[in-house]
Amino acid sequence: MWVELLLLVLVVLVAVVIARLGDLFAAAMLTGIFSLLCAGLYTIMDAVDVAFTEAAVGAGITTVLFLGALGMTSTAERQQRFRWRPLLVVVLTGGALMWGTSDMPAFGDPAAPIHHHVEPEYLEGAASDIHVANVVTAVLASYRGYDTLGEVTVVFTAAVGVMLLLGRAAGGAARHWRRGADRSLGVSEGAAEPGELRDAPMLMREKPVLRVSVRLLIPFILLFALYVQAHGDFGPGGGFQAGVIFAAGLILFGLIFDPQAVARVFPPAVAETLIAVGVLLYGGTGVATLLLGGKFLDYDEFGLASGQHYGILAVELGVGIAVAATMVRLYFAFSALHPEDVVEPQ
């Protein structure tokens, strides 16, 4: 209990700091801390799968996305004056929420209604019908497969939206993007002017320490992603987490070398295709069960003994492919990499 309390206090403090910081670059870094703390809380509260996802998404991908957007806009927030009307709205909302939640069952109460509606069925069914140890995976891919298909479609739609806004169709807009000339790094006036470096701008790929260590790390990250993908039946893991970790490995590669280096092994066009392939694999599994004469996404059609296993495997693979491709494509979009910028090495 005390650990939860301590972490919650920390979460509140970080949220306050993020809200008050005028330097958006620093605030973006603190969102990383915020998400790490939340993930810690999820672990303490027994939600290991959620923590897994939050860890992979929050500290890595979200930070990269914010930094990419900051590179194309500006990092300084204008001084924000105090406003009482929003505060009034917030206080009223808070009062309503406190009043409303005071009727809720206490934290951790095993008698709470939420634990007695569908949950016992899921817990029993995961063992007896689906034969999957991780109940979260069983519910995600089998019992509530429709929901997850919807979520994957939402991710797909968001990727299409970002591609339309920042991709080829954005046309000349890219040329007017700022290049972060107003970097406010907080280094008080010293040797370096804003946007100018003291030493010659050595590229990160020219630093042996970074180059070698990252080359060493990346195969393990990708392998680990595949392990997470395959391990989802037995422990925390699955398509969402694996996709994000795989993408994080590629993004790390792109951060040390260039986005172009990633684009040579994983071209934007391939990423775009794979997003669709992932969603189609998920939907296709459902269609396959229909064609076999069953209901949509009823994996028992693949065989009573291990049909659920095959179905979950296919569906999770689709999720993994779609999520990984989406994250990599988002990274391309936010590092201003356009498909025609990809050049072959001489």
Binding site: M29, G32, D258
Partner: protein, 101 residues
């Protein structure tokens, strides 16, 4: 004992958070943030043992990797001011502004 370790790690998180909030330079914040990540890894590892099911160490592994990625991203950003690709030394700048195309 595990609880004590958890609380100690939590206390160090509080100290690091103070540094991250105070700054003054972005790099001071980044040291704190990076170290915060290490502390979170330890927190997750210990909490697995604390709750009696230490099989979630995959999580700690992910944290290590992701924290590293985040730090590198911020370093690169502070170098170039964007995440786009960089030109070799002498022609510093990104893809976006020089109207190539």
């Amino acid at each position: 004992m595990f609880l004590m370790a958890l609380l100690a790690i939590g206390a160090s998180m509080l100290l690091l958070l103070t540094r991250a909030a105070l700054g003054p330079t972005v790099f001071d914040r980044l040291v704190a943030v990076n170290n915060f990540g290490t502390n979170t890894v330890l927190l997750i590892a210990v909490s697995g043992f604390y709750t009696g099911r230490p099989d979630w160490l995959d999580l700690a592994l992910v944290y290590t990797l992701v924290n590293f990625t985040g730090t590198i991203a911020v370093c690169r950003w502070s170098r170039f001011g964007h995440l786009s690709f960089a030109r070799p030394a002498g022609t510093a700048g990104g893809a976006a502004q020089d109207g190539r195309r």
